[in-house]
Symmetry: C2
Subunit: 410 residues, 2 copies
């Protein structure tokens, strides 16, 4: 397995540990809020992590108001990020077997921390081969969401650990002409399948050539009511569309998971922003789960950005985290290692934030329903007010910065 | 003027300067992206800032692709944050005079850096008295958006400096029964008034009792086409609603300003998230402009959070910044001082990001128009899929974390 030549930094959080104490306290509070503190990891889990080279982090939430008519609704939420254990040129059955073996250990660690609901990364049953634009052998790895090997494997674990498992896979939909789909399967803590949801927004950016493999989901924004809360799943690129998150919230989600596969060169400065903004705007918990590591393909492919063809995907930067409706977030898992994140939260905070911030009351949904409806018409006319002193013909180029006042930069 | 007892930290950026070099480079790149670098401030402006106790910062953007059919559309965008120069118990005419005098200096500094479009903070013509729930004397400070003293004052400066000025004021609408409004007036670089826009989303949170003074704007999401680009204005609390930003973008905005007045205890961890997320999601520039300092009122007021009545608003934390459609942002102005931020940008990046990220193509606006329309009906039924193994009656409380696996925290 080829690692990239450069040494990857571990995480922003690790680097911030090197700040002087007063700066560290201040910066952490502004960058992460102050709702989460680290809690001890059980010894057995720590040993398992050390022996199997993965990271474990656990946090607990503070500051949720005790209510008089509702008991706290405590849930331990898990996020698992992992490298592909063998590279994409291995026989596909070997790849799948290695993925399952690795995941069995990671989920066992989650169970050891008492996780109730866990989300795996996008397309966890495949290498993320859509960069290649090639079909075979990897299209063979797409599998049934109801009785494929991966769902069967996880149903057993869900039952064993009394854990709801969100399993984002590459799906083969045999009922619809063998279409390939990007689908999250929601498995009940009793091992049953509650349902599935297919990715609503398909990327056309950089190496993410996924529109060549599957199309937009048609199942809307289902929210899955589980024993441990109401769950929505905004898959990967859907996190860039605020309405995708909002739609799950309008349907009652309390937690929205964002299983992803995204790389440092493309989106790393965005990663801490988008899921967290969605948590704030929608008074929900959001959980970003991202792949980690580097995947190398046998045939070179191009990225459509003028650079030479290459065989690797760059660096999936992990950094999975949970954000709360009050804007606080946990530190992330590392950028470099497989990891299991466990966060204990109280779902009651969602309604408390709705009450305190008043977003459901101030959202003016009717105004936006009308605007979006108008926008979709071919004769949509944007609402613009043009400076009457501008020249009539065409659209004016902005004037250059004023000469008299231009010493700032050349 | 009473300052809060504690010493306020200057900014996250200042604290990050204390990191070891390798950590600093890494953290800054992830937290801010890598599109902006500081540029030299003209000596005359530096002197003006030192003599008048305000901060000046200037940045220039990198990495915008040179196009073959469009010249770069370079604009220098300014943001001005300031304390109220005299406290709210001074005679209101003295307060207004002091505000105008201060602003004349700050705008002169912006002109000295070549700013083409500048945005002032929310309600810059008033102390932010809505915390008090009292009317007088401050309601008297609301003024006409067409011929009040503040717009007349700024029209002159706009002409003098060839600068578009966005002036968010407390407006007195004499045409509509003297209603008070929270309005941004857009003044052309030739001194004319291009138009105005009133706040779409009115806060009901904490000390922000603004719904007692004015109601939601009814003018939609106008985009003002100026000599220096197309401008939308999402006033303050509107930044919490992603659709508010999106509506300006659907109407063609290239820059969306967010003049604000928000305090550290309420929203500081959110401040770096929301405007920046809007820049990313909508392929636009966004500019957050926030008040700074502490305002103290003669009569104590309560905050509705169980704490005792008090006379001050907490700390307006400034931290004004600009975010680009590629997710990069500038460092912010300080949390402690008046300041002028100047950022040179190329508006061509908006369309480039639309092309590269494909959000306009992948937005599925029709699906959301339908959902929002349905949501507004009284008979809306959320799309939920309930685990069939859950008890039928009522809604189940999530089970507590499993006993066998609960050693993480008590």
């Amino acid at each position: 397995m080829s690692a990239p030549a450069k040494v990857e930094m571990e995480s922003v959080e690790s680097s911030l540990e090197n700040l002087p104490p007063q700066d560290k306290t201040f910066v952490q509070k502004i960058l992460y809020g102050d709702s989460f503190s680290a809690v001890e990891i059980p010894e057995a889990v720590r040993q398992m992590a050390a022996q199997n080279d993965f990271e474990v982090k656990a946090f607990k939430q503070h500051g949720v108001i005790p209510e008089q008519t509702r008991a706290p609704r405590i849930v331990r939420v898990g996020a698992i990020q992992n490298k592909i254990p063998v590279q994409p040129d291995a026989p596909i059955q070997e790849q799948l077997r290695a993925l399952h073996e690795r995941m069995a250990v990671l989920i066992q660690a989650a169970a050891g921390m008492g996780v109730n609901v866990v989300c795996l990364q996008e397309g966890w049953n495949i290498p993320f081969f859509m960069c290649t634009r090639e079909r075979y052998p990897w299209c063979e790895m797409a599998e049934s969401a109801t009785n494929g090997p991966t769902v069967l494997f996880l149903q057993e674990l869900a039952r064993t650990y009394n854990m709801v498992i969100i399993s984002p896979i590459l799906e083969r939909d045999e009922v619809h002409m063998n279409q390939i789909k990007n689908t999250a399967v929601v498995i009940s803590n009793n091992g049953g399948i509650i349902g599935k949801h297919s990715k609503n927004h398909i990327p056309r950016v950089g190496d993410f050539n996924e529109a060549s493999y599957y199309v937009e989901g048609t199942d809307g924004h289902p929210v899955f009511e589980t024993a441990f809360g109401k769950i929505g799943i905004a898959i990967c690129y859907g996190r860039h569309h605020p309405l995708n998150w909002q739609a799950f919230a309008l349907n009652g989600a309390e937690m929205i998971f964002n299983p992803s596969a995204t790389v440092a060169g493309l989106s790393e400065p965005l990663w801490g922003i988008e899921a967290r903004n969605a948590a704030i705007a929608n008074s929900v918990y959001t959980i970003g789960v991202n792949r980690v590591g580097c995947e190398t393909y046998p045939n070179a492919f191009t990225s459509g950005n003028g650079t030479p063809a290459h065989k690797d995907f760059g660096w999936f930067f992990g950094s999975s985290y949970l954000a709360a409706p009050n804007g606080s977030r946990t530190p992330g898992l590392s950028r470099t290692h497989d990891g299991v994140l466990c966060t204990e939260i109280d779902l009651n905070l969602c309604r408390q934030c709705q009450d305190i911030w008043s977003f459901p009351m101030t959202g003016r949904h009717e105004m936006y329903a009308k605007l979006l409806t108008a926008y979709c018409r071919d004769d949509f006319v944007p609402q613009t007010v043009r400076d009457p002193s501008l020249p009539v013909a065409g659209r004016q180029q902005p004037q250059p910065a004023q000469a008299q006042a231009s010493p700032v930069c050349k």
